[in-house]
Symmetry: D2
Subunit: 286 residues, 4 copies
């Protein structure tokens, strides 16, 4: 069976590693703060002392770190993943990173004879625990096929999108729709409220009809209570809206509806809601 | 068992009447073009020669006609419903009409000693056939309770929203969200397409995640094929967007995202897509 | 010399009548509250007791009243202008009214054998006093030529736009641009302020460059002081924005920039600024 | 009299240098393509062989180059301006550059003991020839005062805005207003056209009223003729709109009206109008 590595054991990485263990894989892990490795070691994972050691020990190494800087560091530093790669090995970065970083890391990986896949996830903490993530993959198609069994243990859907960068772009498109839809829900709830309509009833009607969706079902009652427990921080959603608008600019696609929604997120940022859940845009709308 | 009437046997009214027959009710029907009564007569319905006769024969009379003018005509003309009403009877208008017409008809009904309920539906042809409509009810609460068994035969959800006019307002809120969401899907598909991403894969990703909803699942593949079979005409959606924006104006609620989406629908109208499905707004977006 | 009448001696009508007197015309006036006729009578105007008397006494009768209802009343009531008109006479309504009212009044005027011109003005109190109004004329072209000397006494520009209704439409186009430009100034001032730039310097730069215009020069310093002395009420500007957007809808012209500006005016209305100057939209923007 | 240098003799720099000569200054010039120095040499200017030589020869050196890369090159390369600066000398960069480049160049200048001023201009070719530019200055205030006589020869207004970067920010605010106003003119002209109103008359009305401004007077007739001779390229205006929106994001100022206008410029870019005048956004609007 494939020897598998996981680098990064944060809110997302830890449950993903656990799902790999459950899948019966021989698992090697590494985390910047080594204490987070202990629960996994207790369940049978081997703890490595550097990302390089993980790559050396494994057929396929996954990384789930917090931002592009961390992704570059775990891959490219002296004791990084790349230093431990070679022909026959694969590196799958499931972190959300910009296309430039993905290309730079991918080139370094390929120079060792190994193969590279970017596979940013759609989904947050709960889907990570439930093995219900969605992987948006760009890069080496053969590695995509080899990694599929592990992606299936951690997620419910993996799609192959072609060249490196396409995974990141798909994520922007999806998050742009998500951010606009949530803003539209906020406009609808605000309008209903000012019109004397009951909000719980509105949510019930929405949940019974053609636009019923898990996000409205999850966030709607929170909006009603003016509570915004953070699943996806507003500042990250606004960043994705901005990047999606920039992608529209680069490709010549006007996006006036998303642009209007983005201005609401900017207003919410100015109202000190950067670290609240992105659904706190409700405060800027109403 | 309650004697029930149905006035208007069009695309929506005919299957609704059929569901009432299936529920075991003694049903009296009327339609402007009497030939449309024949299939129901063949299944046991009594055919009346005027709306007044329907109201005289029934405990509760429903009407499903195409616009406010028709709703006023079947209710208020010489041989209209109101002429056949009296104490103990109820009139439930499930047509989509403006609040002013609802108030005028409601006053006339109440003057006879009968009770009135506006109950515009959310849902189109298929849900009408499946008994899966949603009724948004405003007006007499006791009549709402009495009509509930019949509403349950024709629909999957009925909500009571308070005074007359609230049903129409709730429908505007729901349709505003629907129209904005569809426009956002169009922006996302256009952006994906220009970015070199596969649209079928985008739809698969959307259908697996937090924003998965029946409308995207139904319309998405049509958009891909540039086909817009009419379930809900674009001109009606644009009218509802305009009325929702006017409700925002009247209540002091800015709706910049819906306003941006509305401009896309206006562009689509100018491109001669008034009678296509509202999803043809895709042509204006891309 | 042409005998001239002026109906309506409010903030606009009184200085306009004064300018007609200065032009040497024999002037007959009427006002609902007759006390407002006194200053003009003191300067030589004849005071009539009904609009009909004005029309009977004059070759050309002007009306400057506050809204479509007043315009219909002074024209069409028993003692109204139409009752005093006949072949060879002309009626020029310089009030701002909707196209429908203009058509109704115009038909009634023409039925007497007289001619009709709608001529809504662009400009407020100060231009009225200075004889610097702009008249946007639709209707009878021969009357337009006959009225030109008087229009020149009251204004600095009169344009002929063709059929009845075109004057009102031109006014909507001009006011839509005006409202959007003011909102853009507000966005620029807010952005400058948050960026640590001096607002007086911004206004000086704007006033020296390609976009220098009297409105920025007049309103800019007021915005800086957060003062909004009413020259044109915000509620009227929002109404014109809404009507311009409706004209866009009717003619198939998307207007996304004006639509975004309109949402700011709606927000300002909700902030109880309806009767402040339209420049108070600054409060909604910043 | 102050010895003055001018680096960069393009469309803007050449007439600016000529105005400095007319002011009676001893002028040293440099241009990448030395042939462009000849007309100025013929009028008495000294031609230097490197930017460093210009700085060495002059009390105050001006630079007008095309973009931030060129600005960094002429200032910071081996034979650049900074290599020729020292205590008592001043460097005034009137190019349009980003705040980061301005800070980097400014630091390098100050390290030599010289002083630095960023002074991006508002205005294009014609104002450069007429000595009617506007200078938006940030940086050393004493140098601003010393450079004032030269700025007055080249422009009609110079404002001091404080620290380095503020000149660039002010320019973004002004251009954002300019871009939005032009888009609003396009919406107004499109609406007038579809409503059957004469466009020349609309322009005449606008030019006579409260919003009359040189830009409408200049561009309006071009829009009517569907001609867009490039004074300010559309791609540069779109870039400034994008940077202004980013400044809004950074400072927490929502700018929904400018964001809507920006989407029109993006549409125009996609229609291959990048190098046309920014007024070609008319094609995207109508």
């Amino acid at each position: 069976m494939t020897k598998v590595g996981m680098i990064g054991l944060g809110i997302m990485g830890a449950p993903m590693a656990l799902n790999l263990l459950r899948g019966g894989h021989e698992l090697t892990v590494w985390n910047r703060d080594p204490r987070k490795c202990e629960p996994l070691a207790a369940k049978g994972a081997t703890v490595a002392s550097t990302p390089r050691e993980v790559a050396q020990a494994c057929d396929i190494t996954f990384a789930m770190v917090s931002d592009p800087e961390a992704a570059r560091a775990v891959a490219l530093s002296e004791d990084g993943v790349v230093a431990g790669l070679g022909p026959g090995k694969g590196y799958v970065d499931v972190s959300t990173i910009d296309p430039e970083s993905a290309v730079v890391i991918g080139e370094a990986v390929k120079a060792t004879g190994a193969t590279y896949l970017e596979a940013p996830v759609s989904g947050s903490k709960k889907p990570a625990e439930d093995g219900a993530l969605i992987f948006l993959c760009g890069g080496d198609e053969e590695l995509y096929r080899r990694a599929m069994p592990m992606l299936d243990e951690m997620g419910k859907l993996s799609v192959y999108l072609g060249k490196i960068g396409n995974g990141a772009k798909m994520k922007l498109v999806v998050n742009m729709i998500m951010g606009t839809m949530l803003t539209s829900l906020c406009e609808g709830m605000s309008l209903a409220d000012r019109s004397g309509l009951d909000l719980a009833t509105l949510l019930q009607v929405l949940d019974s009809g053609a636009v019923a969706n898990p996000m409205f079902a999850l966030k709607g009652p929170n909006l009603q209570r003016d509570e915004y427990p953070t699943a996806f921080p507003l500042k990250h959603m606004q960043k994705d809206m901005r990047l999606a608008l920039a992608l529209g600019e680069a490709t010549g696609q006007p996006l006036p509806v998303a642009a209007a929604a983005n201005e609401d997120f900017i207003k919410a940022l100015a109202d000190n809601l950067a670290d609240a859940d992105f659904s706190a845009v409700y405060r800027a709308v109403k």
